[in-house]
């Protein structure tokens, strides 16, 4: 009697297939980030000075506060605009849904520079937005170089990141549950609050966290549309690196932002919203999303 005790059909080659991707990402992402981390704790000598100085230099905290404030506003606005839009997407027929989805995805994929440039045109002095406000008698409102302008532009750029996870989550809620609740006597608002809202929470948390973390790290929009006196954290980080050449300090600041981001994302994952899900909705425009 012979004994053939091979392991289950060759998982080894499957791991082999992962090597190039893991290698690329390790070299290009993990190594630089790792080096940044090491630099930030002052290697070869271990020191936490770079981190403590973040809290004492008088600038970092202010900028962080400003960035957080902007991020919160952007998150709220995109949520208030995005939730109804995503909800509408679940209510319409397949073709209309495709149209609405395309409207979300095209800006998602269009050049960031082109979109920011568009906002420069709109928000500049004497530009269309200011003209409209002038028409209504508020001619002295300045948008270009202001936090408001930056916020408005960021909202538009980040809105797809709110709508996509929301749509993914809302799309899976069975509308019949709402009709059943109404049939049992609930007025529409109560039915929404007690049934629909709790079921949508996963997607809501995903969207909120995603937009918030993206806002924190946003560079191009505040750099182009904001004023240097109103820098956000991304600009501070760039300045530390290229102008002050304070690589260690930049590393510490970068690690701080990174850790905050990763913690928030990991926390959001627990609510069943996965970043992969967003990627999946975004990269399957040709799939039938009805």
């Amino acid at each position: 009697m012979t004994t053939t005790s091979r392991t289950r059909r060759a998982p080894a080659p499957s791991w082999l297939l992962l090597v190039p991707a893991l290698g690329l990402l390790a070299a290009i992402l993990l190594v630089p980030l790792g080096q940044s981390l090491l630099r930030s704790v002052g290697s070869p000598d271990f020191t936490l000075d770079h981190y403590t100085s973040l809290f004492t230099d008088g600038v970092t905290l202010t900028v962080l506060g400003r960035t957080a404030q902007t991020a919160i506003i952007v998150t709220l606005v995109t949520f208030l605009l995005g939730y109804p839009y995503a909800y509408l997407m679940t209510r319409v027929g397949p073709r209309m849904r495709g149209v609405l989805l395309t409207i979300v995805l095209i800006p998602f994929w269009t050049s960031v520079m082109a979109r920011n440039f568009a906002w420069i045109i709109l928000l500049q002095r004497g530009g269309p937005v200011q003209s409209v406000f002038e028409f209504f008698g508020a001619g002295n409102v300045v948008f270009y170089g202001s936090a408001v302008g930056v916020t408005v532009a960021m909202c538009q750029v980040l809105l797809p990141f709110m709508v996509l996870p929301l749509f993914s989550s809302l799309g899976s809620i069975d509308r019949k549950l709402l009709l059943a609740a109404r049939g049992l006597g609930s007025p529409p608002l109560v039915a929404f609050w007690k049934i629909y809202w709790p079921l949508s929470r996963g997607g809501v948390v995903s969207g909120l966290i995603l937009v918030f973390t993206l806002s924190l790290g946003f560079y191009v929009t505040p750099a182009l549309l904001g004023s240097p006196q109103q820098s956000l954290i991304a600009q501070l980080l760039a300045q530390r690196t290229t102008q002050l050449l304070d690589f260690a300090g930049a590393g510490a600041l970068g690690m701080l932002v990174l850790v905050v981001t990763l913690v928030l994302v990991a926390w959001a994952n627990r609510f069943g919203g996965s970043i992969s899900a967003i990627g999946a909705v975004a990269v399957t425009p040709t799939k039938d999303n009805s």
């Binding site: 190594v31 630089p32 082109a114 906002w119 004497g126 690690m255 990763l262 970043i275």
Partner: protein
């Protein structure tokens, strides 16, 4: 939502209105660049008063703009190729693996989707300085490939999800070795997913600004960097022509497969 159900549960007017407003908010701002690109003015004044094609002309004749366009295309093609090869292999490998380690590997490969671009850009910049990769084609390609991999991974994984594993067993029972089965059965069926991932990796690289800004050198710049320069250092309205082209081309790349896909369904 079946048509017959809609009568029972109509969509409220305020929701439709809000939807239209948000939809306009999505697309109108970007559309502004198109009429501006035909302006004859040296400024960014909008709406334009006179019209001309000078900015398009400049875009296609000025060596700085043309050079940056060429660089962007080259980088994007190479980065997309690298990301697609590496990402497809990873997707196929992950599809066969289960367990915590595999899940961990998958998360690791997706990590660049959630890390803030500025943090990544700064770290890569400093490291690439040491490795003498700044301002080089190779540096750009490697960096952009690394951020393109998650998109390829998601697209190919999605295509594999719809793939019936019994097909591979059937192929083996009919005498095809695992390699032959992959070539004759798996590849054709996931080719659409691979292409999709490749296109997204391409567009991601072509449009990428933050890393590009840090890696640039006077001799090597990509199009988004040149566009950035033209609103910060030198006010150059050519950016409007460049933006319009990019918007139109990317939209086309995006819509064409969708329209073709609809036609295929009726086969």
């Amino acid at each position: 939502m079946k048509r017959k159900d809609r009568g029972v549960d109509p969509i409220p007017w305020w929701l439709k209105t809000l939807g239209v407003i948000v939809a306009l908010y999505f697309i109108l701002p970007t559309l502004v660049v198109i009429p501006l690109s035909f302006s004859a003015d040296q400024s960014f004044q909008f709406p334009p008063t006179e019209f001309s094609l000078r900015w398009y002309q400049n875009f296609f004749t000025n060596p700085v703009w043309l050079g940056s366009l060429g660089n962007s295309l080259l980088v994007a093609v190479l980065a997309a190729l690298l990301a697609t090869m590496v990402g497809t292999a990873a997707a196929v490998g992950l599809s066969r693996l289960t367990g915590r380690l595999a899940g961990f590997a998958r998360t690791l490969l997706m990590v660049s989707m959630v890390t803030p671009a500025i943090v990544v850009a700064v770290a890569i910049y400093i490291t690439f300085l040491q490795w003498h990769l700044t301002g080089s084609l190779g540096g750009y390609v490697l960096a952009h490939a690394a951020i393109g991999v998650p998109f390829v991974l998601v697209a190919v994984t999605s295509a594999l999800g719809g793939f019936d594993p019994k097909l591979l067993r059937a192929s083996a029972s009919l005498g095809a070795s695992p390699v032959r089965s992959f070539i004759r059965v798996t590849m054709p069926l996931i080719s659409r997913g691979i292409l999709s991932g490749a296109i997204f990796a391409f567009v991601t690289s072509f449009d990428e600004v933050v890393i590009a800004l840090f890696l640039r050198s006077p001799t090597f710049q990509t199009l988004p960097v040149q566009m950035y320069n033209s609103v910060t250092f030198e006010l150059d309205p050519t950016i409007s022509a460049s933006s319009s082209l990019v918007v139109v081309v990317v939209t086309a790349i995006f819509l064409v497969p969708q329209l073709l896909g609809n036609r295929k369904k009726t086969r």
